[in-house]
Each structure stands twice: as structure tokens, then as C-alpha cells.
């Protein structure tokens, strides 16, 4: 056994060093939130980890202590009770404690699930800005309906302004993820999902596609940059003046499988996003329902409606009602 202990402590040191090492370089993205949604998610991660640790730590300690104390060696004087096999009191304790802890966790989870529901608009004095996101093979197309510009694999928006991302896909299902702003949301053909995020401060964040979509899925990363409103406006103006427009033909080309560099467009075909959604939705049994994605206004209203309504019947449920 002593050698075993030596090995074990070597292992523990190794793990610890690793933790420390990863702690001193850049902070881990998810634990370094730059927006309210990600911040709540980080809090939740920490709270639930702590709750779990309440069980984990004693169990680990008990395992080592018991294994050590009752090991079979000559002269071990600890008690030996080969027939002892039941104790209602003990069983009640170890069924009870996890039940209580899971109970607490469940309550917290339900609260946070409603608080961070992605389709729920964020509270802010500033007006929500809309960005429409389409996942393509293997690139991201971002359309800014209010600014009438579009970009590929690059995202810019003003900090402190709540953003409503409307997500769809013109390729296999992907997942839109900017870890420092908030958790991911699937992009799916034939429907427009909503994800509300906000950046607290200017900065440049890593974004990626998180759901596997084939060959070059690993290259679907993008930069998400939050700037001041002025910088954002200047950037829009810049794109308006020096980028080509995105035509329907251009979109068709873009949608073909392949990777591309960052691109920007001074305009895009009217209603392109909804067309993409309806391209698939029209063959659904419940095509009419998808009309909610037709104009951003309507969609927004609907999201609010459902939030104040019976609760939980969010846009996706509606979209899926006929499936």
C-alpha cells in the first residue's frame, strides 16, 4: 500500500498543478462572463458545483479512510462485523441527504431556467437590436435588418444594447455559441429560434458553431465584437460605403458547402432570412405558424405574449406544435 499512496499523491499533485496552471493563464471563457446571461450561468455553475461538493468531498474522504482502516492486514484491530448488513438510520441518512440536495438544486434550476430562458427579451432602457443568424455549410451569415447590412463569420454590435439573435439554418442543425455572453442555442432549418444576449462592455469574444455539421464544421468560428455605439455606427457606415451588396445569387453561392474568410455586404435581399426559414417550413404541416418569423415585429410581439402567458409555451413549442 505505501507505494500506492505515493502514486496517488503524485497523481493528486499532478491534477492540482493542472488546475492551478489553467487558473493562472487566461481565465476560462465560461467562468469569465461579459454579459448578464453568461454571468447567471456562471453563478449557477458555481452554486451547483458547491452543492455537489457537499456530497462529493465527504464521499471521497470516506472512501480513503475506510479503505485504509479496514484493509486486511495481520493485526488490524479495527472492528469486524461480517454479518452487519442493515441499518435503517444510516440508509435514511444517505437517501435523505441527496434527496434534500437535489431538491434544493431543482428549485434553483427551475428559477434559473425561467430567468435565463433564451426567448425572453432582456430588460434594458436601450431598445433591443435584431441580428439574424443563419448557419450554412460551413460558415455563419449574420444579417442586420435594421442596418441593412450583412457579414459572414464576423459579428459586431454595440455593447450594453440587448440583442435578439434570430437563428435559423440553411444546412444541418448547428449551434450558435458565444461562451462569454451566454450559452448556446441550436440553429434549425424551418424555424427561427430566439436567443437574447447582451455584452456589458466592449470587447472581442470567441464564437463558434457547437453542433457537428460535417466536414469543415471545426472551422466555423467567428469573432463577436462589442463596441461603443459610435464605433458600431461608424462600422456600419464603412460597410455601407465599401462593401458589395449580397444578391440572391451571391447567397446561393455562399450557401454552397465550403469555408470562407470574413466578408461583409452593404445590403442583402429583402426578407432573405424569412425566405430561408420558410423554404423548409413551407413543407411542414404547420407552415402557417412559421409566418411569425415573417416580420421581426410580429415575432417579437409573439415572444412577449408567450412569456407573459401561461408560461413555457415559447416560440419553439409553437413552431413545433404540429410535429
Amino acid at each position: 500500500m505505501p507505494t500506492a499512496w505515493k502514486r496517488l499523491s503524485a497523481l493528486l499533485t499532478l491534477v492540482l498543478t493542472m488546475v492551478l496552471l489553467s487558473g493562472c493563464s487566461d481565465p476560462l471563457m465560461v467562468l469569465d462572463p461579459k454579459g448578464p446571461i453568461a454571468a447567471q450561468q456562471r453563478d449557477l455553475i458555481l452554486i451547483s458545483s458547491l452543492l455537489c461538493a457537499v456530497i462529493l468531498v465527504p464521499v471521497l474522504i470516506m472512501t480513503f479512510v475506510i479503505a485504509w482502516r479496514y484493509r486486511d492486514k495481520p493485526g488490524n484491530k479495527s472492528k469486524y462485523t461480517p454479518k452487519w448488513e442493515h441499518s435503517t438510520k444510516l440508509e435514511a441518512i444517505w437517501w435523505g441527504i441527496p434527496i434534500v440536495i437535489i431538491g434544493i438544486l431543482a428549485v434553483i434550476t427551475v428559477q434559473y431556467t425561467h430567468a435565463t430562458e433564451p426567448s425572453k427579451p432582456l430588460e434594458s432602457e436601450k431598445e433591443t437590436m435584431v441580428i439574424q443568424v443563419t448557419s450554412l455549410d460551413w460558415k455563419w451569415l449574420f444579417q442586420y435588418p435594421e442596418q441593412d447590412i450583412a457579414t459572414v463569420n464576423y459579428l459586431q454590435f454595440p455593447a450594453d444594447v440587448p440583442i435578439r439573435f434570430e437563428l435559423t439554418s440553411d444546412a444541418p442543425m448547428n449551434s450558435f455559441w458565444i461562451p462569454q455572453l451566454g450559452g448556446q442555442m441550436y440553429t434549425m432549418s424551418g424555424m427561427a429560434m430566439k436567443l437574447h444576449l447582451l455584452a456589458d462592455e466592449p470587447g472581442s469574444f470567441f464564437g463558434s458553431g457547437a453542433n457537428f455539421t460535417g466536414r469543415d464544421f471545426g472551422k466555423m468560428n467567428f469573432e463577436a465584437k462589442a463596441t461603443t455605439q459610435e464605433e458600431f455606427d461608424a462600422w456600419v457606415k464603412q460597410i455601407k460605403s465599401d462593401s458589395p451588396p449580397l444578391t440572391l445569387d451571391g447567397y446561393e453561392k455562399l450557401a454552397e458547402p465550403g469555408v470562407t474568410q470574413e466578408q461583409s455586404f452593404s445590403s442583402f435581399p429583402e426578407g432573405l432570412f424569412n425566405k430561408t426559414v420558410n423554404k423548409y417550413a413551407s413543407s411542414h404541416h404547420h407552415g402557417e405558424k412559421e409566418s411569425s418569423a415573417q416580420e421581426p415585429e410580429g415575432a417579437d410581439k409573439k415572444a412577449e405574449e408567450t412569456d407573459s402567458g401561461a408560461g413555457g409555451h415559447d416560440s419553439h413549442d409553437e413552431n413545433h406544435a404540429g410535429h
Binding site: 476560462l28 444541418p172 455559441w177 448556446q184 470567441f206 408560461g311 415559447d314
Partner: protein, 656 residues
């Protein structure tokens, strides 16, 4: 003519990758070697009579185990190839297509062709012996199940060198797995390989439920069954509810691909989301199917090596059964981020958390079995001890994943990869290793070398933490699963490096196990007692390896841990109860039909994969003929005469 053959061959065989050429050569050499050895030693007849046609559950079990260890090797090589790619993201050691194929085959092989058959192997070897039965309920069906698994797995595996491997992930979400996005044959290999072996799994589930319920030795009440038997029962019950879902799902996908149906395509009124729901309704219970028997194994081992009765038997049974039940209400936690709404997510978050309770509680029962015991750290116990911290940490991160809003950050990231490997390796792989070490002497009549085993144990364990702990941090740092490349500026390089080193440590651990087996075959002493660990359950009451008929006279059971009690009684000087006189023993006859029929399925499957009806139809016809032949076979059993039983027993026990 020659040109067209060449063109065909270049499409038929996978070409253009040096790794695959290497494998081609390896496969060809191995086959030649096998044929040569069998011919040289004139072993073909022996192989056919003694093994391929055997309906003896112990032999079937051994074949399952050999096949699954080979698959562990292949899945492991795949894993190390992936890990190698990930330390040099800017080099195309594996190009993205190849990487995608590898993680897909790795996942499928590890779950369906490694974990499942290893589990079935242990069921086969242990269950009849543990419940004091002479066989399983349906021996012929049992052999058929094995060969369906075997040929299904082979069909899946040939995709590697013929036609091309599937690359849409181990659960093959559409539309990626549809003809539109995966036009090659890889996905068809996936469908048929899993389908054929899946039918075998379903039949095994039925077989063992009936065996356990109907074939227990006289006197054994349900609440006296050994814990491994209970865990097998709960796993098999889960199988019979889960596997039909898989069969139907894959059949629908096949119809989509083959006949242009639209079950899962968005055009024509189908819906990919339906597939995702269905596949996880099977997929989540599936992970419990493979982990439940491990719980049973640990229960046996902890009691035996602590020389103490299992603590909290009833609550253990209750926990196993409630896990089977709850595992069907958690599938949606695999797509919290699909926007099903707060209430749906909260519901599935809670059902998932609930299942953590019975899963976790068992750990306390094991700990209190050790408490006030006398623990000896032989290999089986070592693996059990390695399992506890690993599984507890993995279980805890599982609870973290079940917190829906937090899962928005964990989902599809390396955090998830770390979590499920921690439960699959720490729970399933370590568990089955423990079981293998424990029952090895029962299978072969000798123990495995402890010293080499310790090396293997420490390499696997240290390797595990070195490999997977960094992945939690990678996940929290935004690294998504299934990427074959990333920018150095992401800062993920060092942790990936550490992780890969850990992966290779586990690989070395596996080599130590191979060495251990080879070494022990050569040098280990025979175990003549039949009970080398001082066991508690009936399998240890008979000689090792067990004779064909297992028990010369069926044991009479009066208590839980019957064999232990019997030993106690003998120690106190009670004479063993008088044995009834021997009687001729009724046994099933060997049959070549399961082998041939499964081979026909393989041929049919291969035909469907390549859309060659000239091959598929004869294959299916062969299946039908086999069924006909079987239904007209009346001579399916025989009796072992008393004299022969006497002789066998004397030979086996004579040396005691």
C-alpha cells in the same frame, strides 16, 4: 476489362490514406496467419465443432469477451489517433473527413461493439452459474444472438477498408445522415451493422429475463438473488424497452435513404427533430443498460473482498429498478438547447437529477459494506476502488450537466466529453475489467498475474485523470467536441497535450493487460479449488472451469449468499445435506444454424449497403432457409448419462 476492374476496386476499397493501407496490410496478414495456423495444426474441425456451433453459454460468453476486447483495441486505436491529431491542430495528421469517420466509429464501436458484448459475455458466463442453472432459457437463441452481434460488428468494421466509414457521429442525426448529406455507403454500413447486432441484443435481453425468472435453482427467491443477477435483470428489462425504439428509428432512416421516404427530412413533411427524440429515447437508457451490470459486479466484489455481507441489499435492488424506470424520462436533457421552453427543460432537468439519487446512494452501500470488513486489495477490488472516486466525480459533473441553464454552456463542449468518458470508462470499462478479473478463474481455471495487473491498473487510472480532467477545463474554455483543428491562439494546446499523454498512458495500460493475459496463460498455476477468492455465491461452489452441465445436482438454496452460508455450516461441523442420486442431464445439441444464418444476414446487409440486390436477396433467402431447416430439426437435445457425469466430476474434483 482490366481498366473497369481497376476502377471498381478503387471505388470499392478505401484508398488514398497511408494509415488505411497500413491497416489493409495488417488485416491481410492477420487473416493469412489465422488460416495458416488453423490449417497447420488441423484445427478447422475443432474450431467448428467446439466453438462456432457451440450453444454452451460459457463458451459463448468467452467468444463475446474475445470479440469485445478486439473491439476495445480498435476503438482505442481510433481514440489515440484522434488525440494525436488534437495536439497538432495545424497539421493534417487526420484530415477532417477522416477525423469525422474516426470519432463516429470510435463511439459506435465502444458503446455497441465493446461495452455491450463485454457485458453480454459476463452475463453468459456468470448468470446461469450464479442462479444455479444448467443453461440459459434459450440456448439456441443465445448462440444466434452472439453470431448476429458478431457479424453485425464485422459488417460495421469492414466499412473501414471497403466503401468508406460513416461520419455523421455515433447517433447519426439527420439531415447529416440522410442521402442528401451522406451520399456514400458509410451510413448504410452504420444502419445495417447496428441493426443486425441490435436484434441480437434484444434477444439476449429477453433470454436473460426468462432465464433469471424461470431457471433459478430450487428455493432461490427473488430477494435472495445475487446482486449481479439483479443488475442483469434490470439491465435486460431496460433493453427490451429501449432496443425496439432503436430498431424502428434505424429502419425509418433506412427507408429514407433507400426508398426516398421522408421521415426525417424537412421536405416531404418529415422532421429531423423526431429522429433526435427517438434516438435519445434509446440512447439515454442505453448508457444505463451498460452501467447497471457494473453496479452488480461491484456489489459482488465489495462483499467478497471485504469478507462481509452486502450492506443494504434491499435498497440496492430498489435503486437498480428505479434507475431502469427513470432512465426513460430523461432523454430530452440531450437537447436542452433546442429551445423547448423553460417548462419542458425544467421538467427534464429534474427527472435527470432524480436519477442521480439512486445512482449515488449505491456508493454509500458499497462503502458501508467495506466499513468494519476486512478488505483485501486483489485486482478485482482494486478496480472497484478505482471506480468509486472516478464514478462519483463523473456522476457529479453529470448532475451539473442536468442543470438546464448551465448545460447551455456545457452542451457539445469538451466538458461533456470529459463527463461521459468519466462515467463510461470509470463506471463501465473499470467495472467490466473488475468483473473479468473476478470471474477469470471461473472461466479458465487460473488467476491472472497480480503484479502485471497492478501495473495495468495504475496506468489506466493515472492515465484516465491525466487524459480527461483537462478536458473539463477545455470545455469551460469554449472548446467544442468533434473539432479536428483549432487555432493556436485559442490557448487550448497545452491542455490537449496533457490529455493526449493521458490517453497514451491508458493505451499502455491496455498493453499491460494483454501481456498479463499472455503471461498468465503460460505461467499461472491452475486453481483447483474452484473458489479462489473465498466467494459467496453459487458459481464458486463448482469446479473451475465449470463442466458443460454446470451443476451435477442442482443446488438447494435457502439463503442469500448460499455458498458462503454453506461454507459456514461446514465450518461449524454440519455435514453437507445428503445429495440426491445423480440423474442423466438434459442438454441442448450444438448447431451450425446460428452461425450460418447470421452470416447470411451479413451477406444481405452487405448487399443492401451497396444496393446489390443480387447479393441481398440470396442473403435473405439464406436466412429464410436457415429458419426452415431449424423448424424441421427435431433432434435438438441429448442426455449426458450418469456414468459420464460421475467420471467428469471425479476428474474435476479428484484433484481437490
Amino acid at each position: 476489362m482490366f481498366e473497369s476492374i481497376k476502377e471498381f476496386a478503387s471505388e470499392f476499397f478505401v484508398t488514398g490514406d497511408p494509415l488505411i493501407y497500413g491497416a489493409d496490410v495488417g488485416i491481410a496478414l492477420t487473416m493469412i496467419a489465422i488460416v495458416f495456423v488453423l490449417t497447420y495444426f488441423k484445427r478447422w474441425g475443432w474450431l467448428w465443432r467446439e466453438w462456432l456451433t457451440s450453444v454452451d453459454h460459457k463458451k459463448i460468453g468467452i467468444m463475446y469477451i474475445i470479440a469485445s476486447l478486439l473491439m476495445l483495441f480498435r476503438g482505442g486505436v481510433d481514440a489515440l489517433l484522434m488525440r494525436t491529431q488534437l495536439v497538432m491542430p495545424d497539421v493534417e495528421f487526420l484530415n477532417p473527413e477522416h477525423y469525422n469517420q474516426i470519432f463516429t466509429t470510435h463511439g459506435v464501436i465502444m458503446i455497441l461493439f465493446m461495452a455491450m458484448p463485454l457485458m453480454f459475455g459476463l452475463f453468459n458466463i456468470v448468470i446461469p452459474l450464479q442462479i444455479g442453472a444448467r443453461d440459459v432459457a434459450y440456448p439456441f437463441l443465445n448462440s444466434l444472438s452472439f453470431w448476429l452481434f458478431f457479424w453485425g460488428a464485422m459488417l460495421f468494421n469492414v466499412s473501414f477498408v471497403i466503401g468508406g466509414s460513416p461520419d455523421a457521429g455515433w447517433l447519426a442525426y439527420p439531415p447529416l445522415s440522410e442521402l442528401s448529406h451522406s451520399p456514400g455507403v458509410g451510413q448504410d454500413f452504420y444502419i445495417w451493422g447496428i441493426q443486425i447486432s441490435g436484434i441480437g441484443s434484444l434477444m439476449t435481453g429477453i433470454n436473460f429475463i426468462v432465464t433469471i425468472l424461470k431457471m433459478r435453482a430450487p428455493g432461490m427467491k427473488l430477494m435472495q438473488m445475487p446482486m449481479f443477477t439483479w443488475s442483469t435483470l434490470s439491465s435486460c428489462i431496460t433493453i427490451i424497452f429501449a432496443f425496439p425504439i432503436l430498431t424502428v428509428t434505424l429502419a425509418l432512416l433506412f427507408l429514407d435513404r433507400y426508398l426516398g421516404a421522408h421521415f426525417f427530412t424537412l421536405d416531404g413533411g418529415g422532421n429531423p427533430m423526431m429522429y433526435i427524440n427517438l434516438i435519445w429515447m434509446w440512447g439515454h437508457p442505453e448508457v444505463y443498460i451498460v452501467v447497471l451490470p457494473a453496479f452488480g459486479i461491484f456489489s459482488e466484489i465489495v462483499a467478497t473482498f471485504s469478507r462481509k455481507k452486502l450492506f443494504g441489499y434491499k435498497s440496492m435492488v430498489f435503486a437498480l429498478m428505479s434507475i431502469s424506470f427513470f432512465s426513460f424520462f430523461t432523454w430530452a436533457h440531450h437537447f436542452f438547447t433546442m429551445g423547448s421552453g423553460a417548462n419542458v427543460n425544467a421538467f427534464f432537468a429534474i427527472t435527470t437529477m432524480i436519477i442521480a439519487i439512486p445512482t449515488g446512494v449505491k456508493v454509500f452501500n458499497w462503502l458501508f459494506t467495506m466499513f468494519r470488513g476486512r478488505i483485501s486489495f486483489k485486482s478485482p477490488m482494486l478496480w472497484t476502488m478505482g471506480f468509486i472516486p472516478c464514478f462519483v466525480i463523473g456522476g457529479m459533473t453529470g448532475v451539473l450537466l442536468s442543470v438546464a441553464p448551465a448545460d447551455f454552456q456545457f452542451h457539445n463542449s469538451y466538458f461533456l466529453i470529459a463527463h461521459f468518458h468519466q462515467v463510461l470508462i470509470g463506471g463501465v470499462a473499470f467495472g467490466y475489467f473488475a468483473g473479468l478479473y473476478y470471474w477469470w478463474p471461473k472461466m479458465f481455471g487460473f488467476k491472472l498475474n497480480e503484479k502485471l495487473g497492478k501495473w495495468a491498473f495504475w496506468l489506466w487510472n493515472i492515465g484516465f485523470y491525466v487524459c480527461f480532467m483537462p478536458q473539463y477545463f477545455l470545455g469551460l474554455d469554449g472548446m467544442t467536441r468533434r473539432v479536428s483543428t483549432y487555432g493556436w491562439d485559442m490557448g487550448w494546446g497545452p491542455l490537449n497535450m496533457v490529455s493526449t499523454i493521458g490517453g497514451f498512458l491508458m493505451g499502455i495500460g491496455f498493453l499491460f493487460q494483454v501481456w498479463q493475459i499472455a503471461h498468465s496463460i503460460k505461467f499461472m498455476e491452475r486453481d483447483t479449488t474452484g473458489d479462489p477468492w473465498n466467494g459467496r455465491t453459487l458459481e464458486w461452489s463448482i469446479p473451475s472451469p465449470a463442466p458443460v452441465y454446470n451443476f451435477a445436482t442442482l443446488p438447494q438454496v435457502t439463503a442469500q449468499d448460499e455458498w458462503w452460508e454453506e461454507k459456514q455450516r461446514r465450518e461449524q461441523g454440519h455435514k453437507p445435506a445428503p445429495q440426491p442420486p445423480l440423474e442423466p442431464i438434459h442438454m441442448p445439441r450444438n448447431s451450425g444454424i446460428p452461425f450460418i444464418k447470421s452470416l447470411c444476414w451479413f451477406i444481405a446487409g452487405f448487399g443492401f449497403v451497396f444496393d446489390w440486390l443480387w447479393m441481398a436477396i440470396p442473403g435473405l433467402a439464406g436466412v429464410a432457409i436457415c429458419m426452415l431447416v431449424r423448424s424441421f430439426t427435431y433432434n435438438t437435445d441429448y442426455y449426458i448419462p450418469v456414468d459420464e457425469v460421475k467420471r467428469t466430476e471425479a476428474a474435476l474434483r479428484g484433484s481437490v
